[in-house]
Amino acid sequence: MNLSRLARLTVTAIALAAPSADAQDVMVDKSEIRFVAKQLGVNVDGRFRKWKASVVFLPSDLAKSKAEFDIDLASIDLASEDSEKEIRATLWFDTAKFPVAHFSSTAIKDLGGDKYEIAGALTIKGVKRDVVVPIAIRKDAAGNRVGEGTFTLKRLDFNIGTGMWADTTTVTNEVAVRIRIVLPPAA
């Protein structure tokens, strides 16, 4: 018991000694960026197959913590190839001109009880908006840190789905974005 505590303290000491602002590797295969919108009363969900994240998460030093995301919009996974083709086109994401959605955190707030609020700027299709993403953190069986949260964005704020698609009775303006980010155990 004493030995293991000593070992843990040593690890902590080493970790503190190391450059602490290093980004921690997000376990991409365990993580997910999904979304749900309602289409004619039917929930239609999808996800992004390709994205990159750089996360520095230090519960003891939230000022130094940061999350950056780059999402490859063309990598969208939807109901069919038809709808994926349409969503990459100009009326929706226009991925030829705007291939990447970017999120950059500006402030992380501790809400207590392993709940946090990540404020940041989300840029899609050249439009930058402030968003707040609530994240709850838990540990999975392997000790990995799993951060999960959902926030709602309004697609029309970002000119996503314009022209004939602008009518929100076909596809709702509100899109729920669900994120799961898995980080390895804290060093």
Partner: protein, 186 residues
């Protein structure tokens, strides 16, 4: 001819039969029209209607089968044995297709990850998880079953017309809502 006139289907069976005709013709037309459309709100709306009509066909067919169980249909008019066998087989096949096709469509919708919400109000459970390979298989299954149904409906209608205009027997009139023929009950 007079003796066949009384051997008609009952009102409920006749109503359900013609309701099925309207729904199936509408949905086959809608189905072949909507698929080549470029993706648009209209296409999504037509797909939704197509699914609602399909589920309605399923419900109506279940009602018909239940009704048929308690209300024996009138016997076929006298005809050669082979025709009787063909008629019985094709009727059985029609009922089978009217049951299987909506289910295949529902399965297909589930496999693309799009839940069926009947009339926009009643969410039906997803029968299979989203799977693109399965979706391709189910799409062609749905198409194949419908092609079979279309062919069978054409044969069914032509046979009825042949019985009416060439054999001049009571096959068609026993399924008509009013007695068209001169042989009104007398």
């Amino acid at each position: 001819m007079l003796r066949f006139v009384d051997a008609r289907y009952g009102g409920v069976a006749i109503a359900l039969h013609w309701l099925t005709v309207v729904l199936v013709v509408a949905n086959l037309t809608l189905g072949v029209s909507m698929v080549p459309l470029p993706l648009s709100p209209r296409k999504l709306q037509w797909y939704a209607w197509h699914k609602w009509i399909g589920i309605t066909v399923f419900i109506v067919t279940c009602l018909r089968l239940a009704w048929r169980k308690s209300h024996r249909p009138p016997p076929l008019v006298p005809m050669p044995d082979w025709q009787r066998r063909v008629a019985d087989t094709s009727h059985l096949l029609l009922y089978t297709l009217l049951t299987l096709i909506p289910i295949s469509g529902w399965l297909y919708s589930s496999s693309t990850g799009v839940q069926v919400v009947y009339l926009g109000l009643f969410p039906l459970p997803d029968l299979v998880p989203k799977d693109r390979t399965l979706a391709t298989i189910l799409k062609w299954t749905h198409y194949g079953l419908n092609s079979t149904l279309f062919a069978l409906v054409v044969v069914h209608a032509l046979a009825a017309l042949k019985h009416h205009f060439i054999d001049r027997d009571g096959t068609l009139t026993r399924m008509l809502p009013v007695e068209w023929t001169r042989s009104r009950r007398s």
